[in-house]
Symmetry: none
Subunit: 200 residues, 4 copies
Amino acid sequence: MNDKFFDLKKEKQDKMINGAMQVFACKGYKNASTDDMVKVAGVSKGLWFHYFVNKMGLYSFVSDYCVKYLNMELQVNLMSKPSDYFDILYIIENTKVQISKIYPFAPLMIQSMLDEKDEEIISVAKDMIEPYKDKVREAFENFNESELSSDVSKDMLDMTVGYTLKGIMEKAYNNGVFDAENYLSEVKAYFDMMRKIVYA
Amino acid sequence: MNDKFFDLKKEKQDKMINGAMQVFACKGYKNASTDDMVKVAGVSKGLWFHYFVNKMGLYSFVSDYCVKYLNMELQVNLMSKPSDYFDILYIIENTKVQISKIYPFAPLMIQSMLDEKDEEIISVAKDMIEPYKDKVREAFENFNESELSSDVSKDMLDMTVGYTLKGIMEKAYNNGVFDAENYLSEVKAYFDMMRKIVYA
Amino acid sequence: MNDKFFDLKKEKQDKMINGAMQVFACKGYKNASTDDMVKVAGVSKGLWFHYFVNKMGLYSFVSDYCVKYLNMELQVNLMSKPSDYFDILYIIENTKVQISKIYPFAPLMIQSMLDEKDEEIISVAKDMIEPYKDKVREAFENFNESELSSDVSKDMLDMTVGYTLKGIMEKAYNNGVFDAENYLSEVKAYFDMMRKIVYA
Amino acid sequence: MNDKFFDLKKEKQDKMINGAMQVFACKGYKNASTDDMVKVAGVSKGLWFHYFVNKMGLYSFVSDYCVKYLNMELQVNLMSKPSDYFDILYIIENTKVQISKIYPFAPLMIQSMLDEKDEEIISVAKDMIEPYKDKVREAFENFNESELSSDVSKDMLDMTVGYTLKGIMEKAYNNGVFDAENYLSEVKAYFDMMRKIVYA
DNA sequence: AATGAATGAGCCTTCATTCAT
DNA sequence: CATGAATGAAGGCTCATTCAT
């Protein structure tokens, strides 16, 4: 990418980042078209290439940016080192909601990176999401697996919770904008239920 | 569509249905290309349009066919009117595995219809999946919600189980073919765990 | 390339070959546009890519075809094994004029391959022209250098004659079509003069 | 063009002239990109258009400048009014080498003007080179054609020598910079040979 | 019925040109 | 005067769709 992007007014930077994030997150890499971004961000076609060389460069930048920004906020919000399974996760999801105030499609972008299936971009997406996964793993170091009911394995819990959060999030974006409040309240209700049934 | 499609040899019909289902289910509506279907089904490009008018007509037919076929089998398999939450679901998933013997991508097609995000096709996909959702609702009429722990709401259980099954299924297709055995065993393990924690 | 190109009617093949040859020869690889070929050959844009994958594939095919066709005719026309410097060259140039009846831009294409400067295509052009250069070398095996005046070196003669033929040819194409007759008569006049001054 | 260009420091003027000349001469009008000139001359993109309106204006200016500068030097160097065919030409070529010390791509620019094939610029190029052709014609007024062998016509000699010089020059630029010494020595060798065979 | 040659709209990308600073 | 951010038309290429055979 062209580092002069950062010399632009923050406002315009964010307009472009948000535009790209929206289109990539909602449509996936392959179906995301520059024309869509032009419409959404109100920035001419040529400019995207001026700063990001090509479509992949743009994806690469935006996904990286998204993860870095989220991890920064997580760093702060997880400082209390919570140890309860659902406390940890709630802080993480809450942090996503926080950053959605500035980057409304960042939470969906994170999900779409995990789901990306296009061969051309899949390895980039996997690479870029890794630091986030690391951060989550780190957060769970304080969790003590023995607190779980003997009927429940952490792996399976991770799986079902992970897929469920994904589903709730996609629903929260269903009308094209992120309904943050609704997302958090659904997550909370879900966690409240799970809490009652998975612990020893 | 052109009803003469049904005058074709059953074998050829199925080759076309499977080809379309595979490409639509794996790539989604927008990224599914007619060239892929030509390659996969070994049927010339013109023929698809001869019978199905256009891409949307083809999607419409295949998704409808898929749901109808599944519902037919469910009709039979659910005749015993099971009442246990996980018994019902297991029969449903098992039925999907059954039909995968003839239409290997049908289970994924069902999922992909629920996930479809392309604006052009989304309403078609939602319409076509509805009869399947009805059938599932019908199956749960014999289920008595009061069997669940008071900590657990059926809606939330539906949600988490639904998303989790989706996740397990996508994993089972990860190498391009459906690993039916693996799918069923993962589903079973998951249901076994859930059974232990959600009942009163 | 797609070998089914050769199943097309010869007439259409030649229309496409001539169209591509004209645009490549007149404008060079980089400046040759598919739109120009569409206009010149009256064949839609998609078809070029259907048969030749991409622009480089098309260049590669056309330049190869051009050289192979010329060499085939040279094989016949040089059978008499001429030994005089200018006889050899005249037969070669005359052969180019011959093939220009069917492929009017073939002679210019040969020249343009030798002149190609675009980095992307230069190695392809050099590879493709090589068999023609071999054929010319072969034709000169019957030439006895000692026939030249001691004042004249063959290398320098090759150089000045080569550049001059190039110049005459470019002039013969100046109005967009090949003035074959004029080309041959200018070449003949030039050779007549040179003959008188370079021999011992 | 904007005449205030001449108010710039001579150094900057030459940087721009040389940059444009290099890119135009090496790549031809169409393939010459403003970005290349920006890189080569280290002068911002806007400035080229500020002084020269558009690409054609820039070409027009640079080609004109090149010819005027060459003609000025020829005026001086041809003052001795040489009458020998090859003496005249050698002085001309030597003058090109001279001006290459200040405008390294001027000799190639002169050649490229004669070769320009792009429809958009061809008439401009032809117009601009005309004064140089006039100057050459003028230089040959002192040449007595009867000195030539009766076998040799001046027109044909002009032609072959012209094309050959063009070829030698292109070779002398082959690695991107002008190898002036090599150019002159090749020209000399060529003239020495020709001298021996074309005179009466 | 069946094929695949043929078409052209649309997408990614480049580049001359404009314009605010 | 100088800069380079910004624009949009044009070029290479893909792909749903049409149509002659």
